[in-house]
């Protein structure tokens, strides 16, 4: 009763926060019953809640007690699992260490309790009302496609990707990719011939017992090695070498054209980011196909919710290297979080 009176007297303010690589983005919506009165977005070049952020939020929230502060979960140890059953959940994540929820009784999303506490602690000065998983944002954003397709769905943020594979609204696989860590490990393992994904068990299984070896067996093994030559990865490496060459040529031309070195570094950066994203997605798809936990199905298309404005390179990589049909849709994260917060209140 009091809330109804309150909604007539006051605007509802939705403050939606999502953390970028080195900044915090805040999108604010002020609603009067059902209409949008005001919206504003501002980026703060900081990683912590400072006075500017508090003042900015207070400038919207000071006039109303009905304000809701939402944040997109920035935890690196989050994800989604294709089940809501308590027994099966343990296969995918540790229930004791995670906070999780169920989406339409079909699949679950989770995050680390420790990270959740950390987020709450980092934002204690302004307080938080909602913490949303990017997988929920993704599922809502591609609702029309998820219900009728078998596809990969990506939510690309500046330093992370929420990847999920849906088959007619059933989640098959999901992974949260932290690009910063991925990139660091990638660059670290460039010289390691991509062997980092082979586990010790696999090595032991594939290792040769010298006592049981005979001549015929060794010949068969050689045939197997012959097949290895056809691996896509080798082609990829060749192709990427070509791309590198092209870029080098481009760089030389740019250098000749002007002395502005920063344009070179920008293009390098873009290339790095796109390649980084591509390799992360590729790795995830590989995991999906290889891991027996998941019902692997052949996937032909990928839908990308792009919040940062990815270049065409990522699309071409996905199309040319993994032969996927790529569909990119721009997403306004702030607005999507706000929509979700408003739905939560109904």
């Amino acid at each position: 009763m009091l809330d109804k009176i309150g909604s007539f007297l006051y605007h509802k303010v939705f403050v939606n926060i999502y953390i970028k690589d080195d900044s915090i983005n805040i999108y604010v919506e002020k609603n009067s019953s059902k209409t949008l009165v005001l919206s504003d977005e501002k980026n703060f070049k900081t990683n912590t809640v400072d006075e500017n952020i508090i003042n900015y939020i207070n400038s919207f929230t000071k006039d109303t007690p009905y304000f809701y502060i939402s944040i997109l979960d920035p935890s690196t140890t989050q994800g989604a699992a294709p089940t809501c059953e308590h027994i099966e959940i343990d296969k995918f994540y540790d229930k004791a260490l995670s906070k999780y929820g169920c989406y339409k009784n079909k699949w679950s999303y989770y995050t680390s309790k420790y990270d959740l506490d950390e987020v709450n602690s980092n934002f204690r000065e302004i307080g938080l009302d909602f913490i949303f998983s990017p997988f929920i944002i993704l599922a809502n954003f591609f609702q029309d496609k998820i219900d009728s397709n078998l596809s990969i769905f990506l939510l690309i943020q500046e330093s992370s990707i929420a990847l999920s594979i849906f088959d007619n609204s059933n989640l098959l696989f999901a992974q949260y990719l932290n690009l910063k860590n991925e990139f660091e490990s990638e660059s670290f393992s460039i010289d390691d011939d991509n062997d980092d994904e082979i586990t010790l068990d696999e090595v032991q299984e594939e290792s040769i017992d010298l006592d049981s070896v005979d001549v015929d067996d060794s010949l068969d093994d050689l045939d197997v090695f012959g097949d290895i030559e056809d691996l896509d990865s080798i082609e990829e490496i060749d192709e990427f070498t070509d791309v590198d060459d092209e870029l080098e040529e481009e760089d030389i031309a740019l250098k000749n054209h002007s002395n502005k070195n920063h344009s070179l570094s920008e293009s390098e950066e873009l290339f790095d980011e796109d390649y980084q994203m591509f390799s992360a997605v590729q790795g995830s798809i590989k995991t999906f196909y290889e891991d027996e936990k998941y019902n692997s199905e052949f996937i032909e298309s990928i839908y990308i919710a792009d919040s940062i404005g990815v270049s065409g390179d990522l699309k071409s990589y996905l199309e040319e290297e993994i032969f996927l049909n790529v569909y990119i849709r721009q997403i306004d994260l702030g607005s999507e979080i706000s929509k979700l917060a408003q739905v939560e209140l109904k």
């Binding site: 009302d129 929920i136 979700l340």
Partner: protein
């Protein structure tokens, strides 16, 4: 739907400013209420006091009437006592005068003071002493004087003298005294 990992904080219509305003109003109302109660109590107290004073006034009026009656009664008693005192004084004077009238040679044996007269019994050496020394002054006081004699053993005479004042004169004297 609850897709958030945490529950939203409870939002209250009452902001800190409103809370302050409500506290102010609450204190004001309390103070007004206390003032109202105080005034109501005082009003009741005054009314009660008024009733008490009215009762006291009534009592005092009653007492006053009673006291006035008492005063009247006492005044009456005082006047009566004064009258008696005066009468006694008069009587005393009369007796003194009477004994002053009696010469040394005559001895009284009985004297009766009446409202309108005086009766004397005594012994006299002879009639002349009585007539000249006692009857003469009695006649000047009383309107009617009657004397009778009879002899005693020693040769002297017993006498009885009856002296009366007329009734009309007595009543006039009484009226004058009142």
């Amino acid at each position: 739907m609850t897709y958030s990992y945490i529950n939203p904080r409870t939002k209250s219509l009452i902001t800190s400013e409103l809370k302050l305003l409500f506290i102010f109003f609450f204190i004001t109302i309390i103070m007004l209420l206390m003032t109202y109660l105080f005034l109501t109590y005082k009003n009741y107290s005054f009314k009660q006091e008024h009733i008490d004073i009215k009762k006291a006034k009534q009592n005092l009026t009653t007492n006053l009437t009673k006291m006035n009656e008492d005063i009247k009664f006492i005044e009456k008693q005082s006047s009566v006592s004064k009258k008696i005192f005066t009468q006694n004084t008069v009587l005393k004077d009369s007796i003194t005068n009477m004994f002053d009238l009696v010469p040394e040679r005559i001895t009284l044996s009985e004297a009766k003071l009446l409202k309108n007269g005086l009766i004397l019994h005594g012994i006299t050496p002879n009639k002349d002493v009585y007539n000249f020394m006692l009857q003469a002054p009695l006649r000047s006081i009383f309107h009617n004087t009657y004397s009778s004699f009879y002899p005693a053993q020693n040769g002297w005479l017993f006498f009885v003298s009856k002296n009366y004042i007329e009734e009309d004169e007595i009543s006039e004297d009484d009226l004058n005294e009142d």
